[in-house]
Each structure stands twice: as C-alpha cells, then as structure tokens.
C-alpha cells in the first residue's frame, strides 16, 4: 500500500490525497475510540463484579452478628416450694410450675436494690421468656436440681441482644430507643462483672419460627426445604431423565415430538409465579391436597425444574458419541439395552450436574410457594410431607417484613445459610462436571 502512487483520475479536478495520510490522519481518533470501547467493556464487568461483592458484603455484614446471642448469668435457686410443693416429683407438677418466678427471683438477687413495680418489670424485661422454658427442661431432665442453687446462663431478651451488639445508640433520648436508661445501667453493671456475654446462637439452628426474635430459628424452614426438595427430586429426576432419553434416543421426528420440544423450551421461560397459580388451582382446589404442605410445594417445584433437567439431560445425551451406540447395537443389544447399559451411564454425570443446578434453583424459589400457602406462620418443625411447613427463602421473605432490628440480623443470617447451601450445591455440580465429564 505504501508504494502506491497517487493517481489523478481524469474526471477529478484536484489530485486525491495519499491514502496513507488519510489513514494516519484518522488513526489517533480510531485508536482512542478503540481504547474507549475497551474501557466500556472493562467498566461493565467491573460494575457487575462490584454488585456481586456489594451484595455479599452487605448481607454478611448485616448477618454475621446473628450467629451470636446475648446470655445473662443468673443465680437460680431451684426452690422446692415453687417447683414441687408436694414433694412428689410428679412430672405434671414439674411441667406446670412457675419457672418464670425463679428467673425473677434470680434477677432480684442480682440487683437487690431495685424497688417498685415498674422498675422491677423493666429488670425482668432483660431476660427472654425462653429463660423459664430453659429452666423447665433442665428440671425435667434432672429433677435432682430441685433444692440446689446454680449459676445458669439464660437467654437475654432481643433488645438486650441488640444493645450489646451496639445497634442501639445510647446517645438517643430515652423515649426514642427501645431500651430505658435504668436497663442500660444494669446491662453495664452486668458487663463489668462478666455476667452477660455473647454465646453461639444455637437456637437459630434448632428451633422453628417465633414472634420473639431471640427465640426464632430456621430449623422449621430448613426441614420444610428438605422435604420439598426431596419431593421435587424424586419426581423431577426420573421423569426428566425419561423424557430426555425418549426425546433424544427413541422419539420419531414428527409434529408431536416437535410440539413437546417447543413446549419444554417455553415452559423453561414461564414466570415461576404462574406455576404457583397452577398449583393453587389444580393441586389444592381440584385435587384437594392440603395447603402449606411440602408435598404440594414439591409438586409445583418439580414441574418448574423439569424443563431444566430435560434440557441438561438432552445435552448430556447428545455428547455421547454415536459410535458407542453403534457398537452396542452391533453386538446384538436391543435399543433399550444400548441406552440402559451404555449411553445412560455415560451421560449420567452431565444429567446429575443439570439436576443439581435445577435443585439449587428450586431451593431458592419462593414466589410459587407463596401461592400455595407456604407463607403461614408455623412454629412447629415439620415432620412429614403433609405437615404445614415453610421453606428457607419464604422464611427470609417473612422475616424481612418484620420491623425489629434483631430480625433484620436474623434475616441476613438466614440468607447466609441459604447462600451457603446454594454454593455447596453449585460447587458439587462443578466438581461432578470436572471429575466425570469426558471429552470424546
């Protein structure tokens, strides 16, 4: 190009400039445009990654304190006159005794100079109502405690917990914060004597929902999620694999199978809430299955997960080379034996990977479950597929609506647990793919 001499065309009035100069003249501009474009790309990715980091740090920052909870060490006298006046050790008497009185007595013992109804009530307000239940279970497990004196770590109320974690500004006016001046004074005193401390919050993992933040746990939701996912997997995996095998290996190419294919692709993009409407109209109103049951939730989620599993399964089946099928058929295996003995085992890791990803998605799904009544406030931990239950994401949704600061913390903690499960499942899928995926 550089040797090209400028030529004067007969029809032109002025000679054309050298092409090199033309190119060079615009080169700086073009290179700048190139750099700009590159930067746009980098900025876009940077923004995307920033969002990831921001969300995670935001959630973790809010949620990690919820894994600890404030407890108060209270001297408890297991007074026989209160617990078991008859001295019979009758289990019913032990169950119905006024353990709250023991807690109150212990608090008075800690602060002997507190007087007056209001003051005392404020003092008792430092402990959670769970403290009495804790004493009850201790006595029921070990009746020998009656008559003894013990220092017992008992659950503090959610306000105390929030205050200890520094989430209530003590500079605020007394009327503007949920904790009163005298309560702050007592807490400070307890802190200096080491009688209040943060312990690992095992309640979060061992209890069902509660209206009291300090007693609320996610075990009910976790079990609900487990039951729901079990139903989902048991239904969607066999049906999904069977569909993928049929469409990929057996189905004749005709209008009917075309229809099925188009259908599956469309179902994959139908909004999840529509599946909830289906579940409400068909499973609950038509078949009369119980509301809020993991069985119905699992049914709805399996219909949602099916397309994912089918699409992944078909991809896994197509990646098995035809030579394997031909070899098996050549040895006299039937079509079904070929698929069952050779193709399916080779495609299984891919199918499992797809199913796990589908399950992870089902685990995080909440909208369709709102439709079928899994949003109820349920304290009991579900024990079967028909017990009313809720699932982890719906529990998060329910808690996020509650105004207490302590619930914000627990919501974030529940999200952390949910995300941990998601990461675990996706990680499992990646490991499966890495270990078993074959390139032919």
């Amino acid at each position: 190009m550089s040797t090209h001499k400028p030529t004067v065309h007969p029809g032109l009035t002025r000679p054309e400039r050298d092409i090199k100069t033309i190119v060079n003249a615009s080169l700086a501009r073009r290179n700048a445009a190139e750099r700009r474009f590159r930067w746009y790309g980098l900025i876009a990715i940077g923004l995307g990654l920033t969002f990831v980091v921001l969300m995670f740090s935001n959630i973790i920052g809010r949620g990690y304190p919820a894994f600890w909870q404030a407890y108060i060490q209270i001297p408890i006298t297991f007074d026989p006159a209160v617990i078991d006046p008859d001295g019979q050790r009758d289990p019913r008497a032990l169950a119905n005794a006024d353990y709250a009185a023991l807690v109150r007595a212990g608090m008075r013992q800690l602060f002997p100079d507190v007087q007056g109804r209001q003051e005392l009530r404020a003092l008792y307000g430092l402990t959670s109502s769970d403290a009495a239940f804790e004493l009850q279970t201790r006595v029921q497990q070990n009746p020998k405690l009656i008559g003894m004196e013990q220092e017992v770590w008992l659950l503090a109320s959610a306000t105390v917990d929030t205050f200890i974690k520094g989430n209530i500004n003590r500079a605020l006016d007394e009327s503007e914060r949920p904790i009163k001046d005298n309560q702050i004074e007592w807490i400070d005193k307890l802190q200096t004597t080491g009688k209040i401390e943060k312990q690992f919050n095992s309640i979060l993992f061992s209890r069902g929902d509660s209206r009291e933040p300090e007693q609320a746990g996610i075990r009910g939701a976790l079990m609900g999620s487990l039951f729901t996912l079990m139903v989902t997997f048991l239904l969607s995996f066999p049906i999904g694999v069977a569909t993928a095998v049929y469409l990929e290996e057996f189905a004749p190419k005709n209008r009917w199978t075309d229809l099925i294919e188009v259908n599956i692709n469309n179902l994959a993009a139908v909004p999840s809430i529509v599946f909830g409407l289906l579940g409400l109209a068909v499973f609950i109103n038509f078949f009369g299955l119980p509301r809020s049951a993991p069985l119905v939730g699992g049914l709805v989620l399996s219909l949602m997960t099916l397309p994912v599993i089918i699409i992944a399964g078909r991809a896994a089946l197509t990646s098995v080379p035809p030579s394997i099928r031909e070899a098996a058929l050549g040895m006299g295996a039937s079509k079904l034996q070929t698929v069952g003995h050779h193709v399916l085992p080779l495609a299984m890791p891919g199918m499992l990977t797809g199913s796990i990803i589908g399950m992870a998605r089902a685990l995080g799904e909440s909208a369709p479950l709102l439709m079928i009544g899994m949003v109820a406030f349920i304290v009991d931990v579900p024990k079967s597929f028909l017990d009313p239950a809720t699932v982890l994401p719906v529990q998060i949704y329910l808690w996020s609506d509650l105004p207490e600061r302590a619930f914000v913390e627990r919501t974030s903690a529940a999200i952390m647990v949910l995300l941990a499960f998601m990461i675990l499942m996706n990680g499992l899928a990646i490991v499966l793919r890495r270990r078993f995926e074959r390139r032919w």
């Binding site: 190119v23 073009r30 445009a33 190139e34 700009r36 474009f37 590159r38 790309g41 980098l42 876009a44 990715i45 923004l47 995307g48 990654l49 969002f51 990831v52 969300m55 935001n58 049906i239 069977a242 569909t243 095998v245 049929y246 057996f250 199978t257 229809l259 099925i260 259908n263 692709n265 469309n266 179902l267 993009a269 139908v270 909004p271 809430i273 529509v274 409407l277 289906l278 109209a281 068909v282 109103n285 219909l303 099916l306 397309p307 089918i310 039937s334 079904l336 995080g364 909208a367 709102l370 994401p393 998060i396 949704y397 996020s400 914000v408 974030s412 999200i415 949910l418 995300l419 996706n426």
Partner: protein, 459 residues
C-alpha cells in the same frame, strides 16, 4: 399404614423378580440358550406383573378414598345437616375431618357430628383394610400369572421393554400436561372473573383497587379492576431493569468474548454468573433494605421527593439480577458469528471495536434482540424483588421515583390474604396470571424463534 403397604408391595415385587428368574431357569432346564430372553427379563416380567397393577390401584385408591368416604358420610348424616347450604356444609365437613384427626374444632361438637365422625372413622378403617386386601390379592395374582405364563418361548424382553417404552412416552407428555394445566387453570378462573367484571374494563380500565364488598350494602365497596396501571408499573420497572442490564450485560459479553484473555475470562465469567445463582428473595431483601433507603437519601439530598418504595430501587436491583442472563445469552450469540467474518474485517484494517460495531453487532443483532426479549419476559414475570421492594398502590405514572405496583405483586397480595375462593378479588389474580402468561408466552415464542432462525443462518 400406607407406607407399610407400599413397602410390602415393593418387597413382593423383588420377590417376584427372583421367582420369575428361577422359574425361567427351571423351564429352560438350566440351559439359558433355550430361553427367548435373558433370565433377568423373566424376573422383571414377573416383578412388573406383581407390582404394577397393585401400585396403580393403590394410587387411585389414595386419591379417591377421601372423597368417596366424605360423600358416604354426608349421605348418612341427618337431613338437617345434609341440607345446609354448600359453604356451611363445607365448614361442617372441615369440622368433621378435624374431629376425625383429633384436632381442635371450631365449636363444641354436637351428637350428630360425633356420630358422623365415628361413621367416618369406621369407613376409613374399612377402606384401608380393603385396600390391603385388594392390593395384596392383585400382587399375588400377578405373580401367579407370571409364574404360569413363563415358558421358553415367552418374549419377556419385548414385553418388559414395551412397559419401559410406555413409561418414557408418558414421562415426555408431562410437559404438555403442565402447559395444558396452566392454561386451563388460569383460563377457567379468568372466565369466571370476566362474568363479574367485563373484559374491556379489565384490559383498558385505568383504575385498580380490588376491594369487593363483603356485604352488598357496604359503602365504598365498588372494586375497580382496570389492569392498565399494573402494566405500566410492570413496564416501568422492567424498563429501568433493562436500562441497567442491557448495556452492562452486552458490554461485558463483548469484552469477555473479544478482548479478554482466556485466564481473565475463566475467572470473570463464572464470577458474573454468581449473580444468576442468587435467589431472588435475596435481591428483594437487598433492594428493600439497602438500595431503596440509599436512593431515598440521595433523592432527598438533591431536593427530590422519592417514595420509599420507588420503582427505581426495584428496577435497579432487578437489572442487576438480569445482567448475567443478558450476558450469557449474548455471549452464545456472539460466539456463533463465524470467525471468518472477523478475519475479513481485520484484513481490511479495521480495529477491534470497529469490527465489533460494524460487523459483529449487525451480524449478531437478531440473536441479541432475541436474548433481550427473553430477558424482558423474565423481568416482567419476576416476583420476589417487586413484592419486597415495590409498592402496593396502583399509580398510573412514568415517574421512576414514585411508587408503582406490578402484575406479579398484585397476584401475590390478592392470593395470600384470607378470602373465599370465588370472590372477584381472588379471581382477578387468575385473570392477571392469564395476562402475564400470555404476554410472556408471546415474548418467549418470538425470542426463541428469532434465536433459532439466527443460529440456523450460520450453521
């Protein structure tokens, strides 16, 4: 009770398998070559005969038994109970079921109810016992039948494979039935709704306040069911989401496929896709607790009035959620453009960005449009973010700082309250569902068609 029956049936089927195999060896005189199929097929044949009919009866029985028993009990009730209006009767039946299962009942049970409950319990016992008898008889009859029909000439493999084939075909129709189920369930309820509210008012009405009267003489009870404000709200939020997601998603896809080194791509691509794996309820929480207050603060600092549940917050966060969706779809599309087209452009002296802008994007445009349409349909159907971060009041506005509501929010709020099932309120949710389903279906069909057409073009 039922579980033990199920286990018994499974055990019997396993027993049937071994019996069938032994029978096959016996009739073949110990020489497998005399048999038509492998012995295990004879075993499976016997197991299928044992298990399948019994399991089918078992399943049907479980589905039908409660209704049959309820009908029988109602028929046996004293006439004053039987002739109650349907909704009262339903209440009575609910009480009855609670009585039977030993739960707390709404009122003190009267003798008639107690008698009915006893009747119910008796029928249940009879039903369960007869289920056992019928299922076990069927299972044993199946084994006997298989035992007698196994002979060296029995084509056991073909029969077993026929059953498996049938299972595969039935499985593949589940997807069809799901679609039919969706369509039927929303269409039926919507038709009921359109009997109460004219379809023109629903489609073109500008007012949405789904309050229906509990009593006919109530004041201020005329509900308004115009869906236009809901759709403008949905479009506003989806529009904001697309304004965030399309540039970021598309640019990162372009960078990752055209500029990035393989190592950078291997890290950045999965990192971006984390966004796709986060449950939507987490986005909702993030939007409601972090983004919305932030936007409100910024707005107030600038002297603007920002609603605490502004469309902007929900839209922004929804946009973040959709980024990986846009980027991975456009990534596929961009990678499908043949390398020869890029090479041609480079050979003419174009820079990379010029190649992208003048060659790659025009070539990939249909596919990109398709993937954006899919993303839009996703945004329209997204529920949790808007339920948690968008408002409930149906404002007809295009102001992103105002609170708007969406179709999905209304479906959730209409259906999670306590109301009877056939009120205009609940039915309206299904009509909205129909609308939502139709709109997303149209978007999906167009998008999938465009993407497929585009792929074929370069194959």
């Amino acid at each position: 009770m039922r579980l033990s029956l199920l286990l018994t049936l499974i055990l019997l089927s396993i027993g049937g398998y071994y019996l069938g195999r032994r029978r096959a060896f016996a009739v073949a005189g110990g020489h497998i070559r005399h048999l038509h199929s492998l012995p295990s097929f004879y075993g499976s044949y016997a197991a299928l005969w044992c298990g399948l009919p019994a399991l089918i009866v078992f399943a049907l029985w479980i589905v039908l038994q409660p209704n049959v028993i309820t009908d029988l009990v109602v028929a046996g009730m004293p006439p004053e109970l039987r002739n109650l209006p349907p909704d009262r009767l339903n209440l009575a039946i609910n009480d009855l079921k609670n009585l039977v299962s030993g739960n707390i009942v709404s009122s003190a049970p009267d003798p008639a109810m107690l008698a009915a409950a006893d009747h119910y319990r008796n029928l249940q016992v009879i039903g369960n016992a007869s289920l056992w008898v019928v299922a076990l008889t069927l299972a044993i009859a199946g084994i006997v039948h298989a035992w007698r029909s196994i002979s060296p000439t029995l084509r056991a493999r073909n029969r077993v494979e026929r059953v498996i084939d049938l299972f595969l075909i039935i499985s593949s129709t589940v997807a069809i039935f799901t679609t039919i189920g969706i369509v039927l369930s929303v269409v039926f309820e919507s038709i009921l709704f359109f009997h109460k509210v004219p379809i023109t008012e629903f489609l073109f009405g500008l007012q949405w306040s789904p309050q229906t009267a509990l009593r006919s003489d109530q004041v201020g009870s005329s509900g308004a069911f115009g869906s236009v404000p809901l759709f403008t709200g949905t479009l506003l939020i989806s529009g904001i989401a697309m304004l965030v997601a399309v540039p970021i998603g598309l640019m990162s896809a372009l960078f990752l496929s055209e500029y990035a080194t393989p190592r950078f791509r291997a890290i950045a691509k999965p990192a971006l896709e984390i966004l796709a794996g986060i449950p939507t309820v987490v986005y909702g929480f993030f939007a409601a607790l972090t983004v919305a207050p932030l936007i409100r603060q910024i707005g107030t600092a600038l002297g603007l009035h920002v609603a605490s549940e502004s469309a902007l917050a929900a839209g922004l966060v929804m946009g973040i959620m959709i980024i990986p969706f846009v980027s991975s779809l456009s990534d596929d599309v961009i990678n499908a453009v043949p390398q020869s087209m890029r090479d041609g452009s480079y050979a003419l002296g174009a820079t990379r960005s010029e190649t992208i802008k003048r060659v790659l994007l025009p070539a990939a445009l249909p596919g990109i449009v398709g993937s954006i349409l899919l993303a839009v349909s996703r945004a329209i159907g997204e529920t949790m973010i808007v339920v948690m971060a968008a408002g409930l009041s149906a404002n007809l506005t295009a102001n992103p700082l105002a609170a708007v509501t969406t179709v999905t929010v209304q479906i959730v709020t209409l259906l999670t309250g306590d109301q009877e099932f056939d009120s205009a309120k609940t039915l309206a949710a299904f009509a909205l569902g129909l609308l939502l389903f139709t709109v997303t279906l149209i978007l999906n069909v167009i998008a999938l068609h465009v993407v497929r057409k585009y792929r074929e073009q370069y194959e």
